[in-house]
């Protein structure tokens, strides 16, 4: 009986804390969308030093739209809305997308021009665990603006890769999802037109397991996409593997006369690709 009692205490002592720890681990921390994080505190200093960043929702000139929970952590839709029109007088000059707790938090840095007309962007990113996603913009007047969302998802960086089109790696395609607007009156200003650019690419993170070899797939991702219209630069994007596979950027541009949308792409093996779309506007 004494043996039984001692053994029961021992086994329970081993099992109960294990269960308690597991239960605590399951209750992942919640945070407000506007909260900071230790990772962000460090990134902020590295990227922006002591510069002031306007993060008040009403005053900030940028808005970030991300679902609280996404279908898959490997493909979280992100929409960035600029609250100012992109004009020569004042425009969004630079834009950063960050995921605080990703292995590589800086997902993208974009250099923008007034040619966009409106500095809204959409893309899909990987979010590896519960984390804040942030967008910071720098306007041409030098001010910094931020918005952030807390996203609850997991496994984005270790999710099984979809490698169904490896033979098409580098294929770069433009689309105009809403087409071109009807020809405007000669004296009316041209409106920004929505466009997508997609690069077929696995954008391997280096954390994905090959199901056949049970080896990690080396990281291999699109490093940069430079987009122009009619020889005029629209934006340059420096990207990272935190962008989902087949990186896609949805953006606006102002088609001042007929021209060609063109993208120059480079990946982490220094391979270069290009894609273009002629745009016939009156």
């Amino acid at each position: 009986m004494k043996h039984l009692l001692i053994a029961a205490l021992l086994v329970t002592a081993v099992l109960l804390p294990a269960q308690t720890a597991e239960a605590q681990a399951r209750g992942l921390p919640s945070a407000a969308h506007s909260d900071t994080s230790p990772q962000w505190d460090q990134l902020r200093t590295q990227l922006f030093g002591q510069r002031r960043i306007e993060a008040d929702t009403a005053a900030s000139r940028v808005q970030l739209i991300v679902p609280l929970r996404a279908a898959y952590g490997a493909s979280v839709p992100v929409k960035i809305v600029s609250k100012i029109a992109q004009t020569q007088a004042l425009y969004v000059k630079r834009l950063w997308i960050l995921v605080d707790k990703n292995p590589s938090p800086l997902a993208a840095t974009l250099e923008l021009t007034p040619e966009l007309g409106q500095a809204d962007f959409e893309t899909r990113i990987r979010v590896d665990e519960y984390s804040h996603v942030r967008v910071v913009t720098e306007l041409s007047d030098g001010t910094l603006h931020m918005d952030s969302r807390y996203v609850k998802t997991s496994g984005g960086c270790s999710a099984p890769p979809n490698r169904s089109a490896l033979n098409l790696i580098g294929r770069t395609v433009f689309k105009l999802p809403q087409g071109l607007p009807p020809a405007a009156a000669a004296n009316s200003p041209q409106q920004p037109v929505l466009a997508d650019v997609t690069v077929v690419h696995p954008n391997d993170t280096g954390f994905e397991l090959n199901n056949q070899t049970v080896m990690f797939i080396p990281s291999y991702f699109v490093r940069s996409i430079s987009v122009s219209y009619g020889q005029r630069k629209l934006f340059d994007a420096d990207l990272d593997f935190s962008i989902s596979e087949n990186p896609t950027l949805r953006f606006y541009f102002v088609p001042r006369g007929p021209g060609e949308l063109r993208a120059e792409v480079e990946d982490s093996k220094s391979l270069r690709y290009a894609g273009s779309l002629p745009v016939a506007v009156e």
């Binding site: 043996h3 029961a8 399951r26 609280l68």
Partner: protein, 186 residues
């Protein structure tokens, strides 16, 4: 293989104690089902083993009649993550059952197996039976690409999704987060 319990001595005591402790901590006692307190409408698959077809028609008719929303849970009998979610619901039934009721959810449980991968899983509504990926595309659900166990859908009585749900249940296994789901917080 036979498991033989030693007749006497400290090993017997240790094993008995381990079994007692497992019972105390709840290990090995999980049922492959939602806890009874949730009064789920259980739908078994038909067409096995070639296909696992779940007919939602009766559940939708009931939801329409009672003006309810559907909380459709797809679990698998051999899925540890399903047991984990069910254990979470069981543990918090006192708090959560009234919340499911007050938010007007009819809970529907589809009982599947891990062997029922996407091509084998069909959802029937009336005369239309759609394979998992097609069904997901039809309703605009982003989870068309990959079937994950367990899965939850929130529908109105017309089988229209109330919001995009995440793959799996790992992001709502606390009471606070389960309430976010029931309240359609996006």
């Amino acid at each position: 293989m036979k498991f033989i319990l030693p007749a006497t001595g400290p090993w017997r005591a240790l094993l008995l104690a381990a079994m007692a402790a497992l019972a105390i901590t709840g290990w090995g006692t999980a049922q492959a089902a939602l806890p009874a307190a949730y009064k789920a409408l259980v739908i078994e698959a038909t067409g096995q083993p070639e296909r696992y077809e779940f007919d939602l028609s009766a559940a939708l008719a009931l939801a329409k009649k009672d003006n309810k929303r559907l909380y459709v849970y797809l679990g698998a009998r051999d899925c540890s993550y399903c047991r984990r979610y069910e254990a979470f619901l069981d543990k918090n039934a006192g708090e959560l059952v009234p919340q499911f009721a007050s938010k007007n959810y009819l809970i529907v449980e589809l009982r599947s197996a891990l062997s029922a991968r996407a091509p084998k899983l069909f959802i029937r509504i009336g005369n239309s039976s759609r394979a998992y990926a097609d069904f997901q595309r039809d309703i605009g659900d982003e989870r068309a690409r990959q079937l994950v166990y367990p899965s939850v859908w929130l529908f109105d009585a017309q089988a229209r999704p109330l919001m995009q749900m995440p793959a799996g249940t790992g992001t709502f296994e606390t009471v606070e987060e389960q309430l976010e789901i029931l309240n359609l917080v996006q």
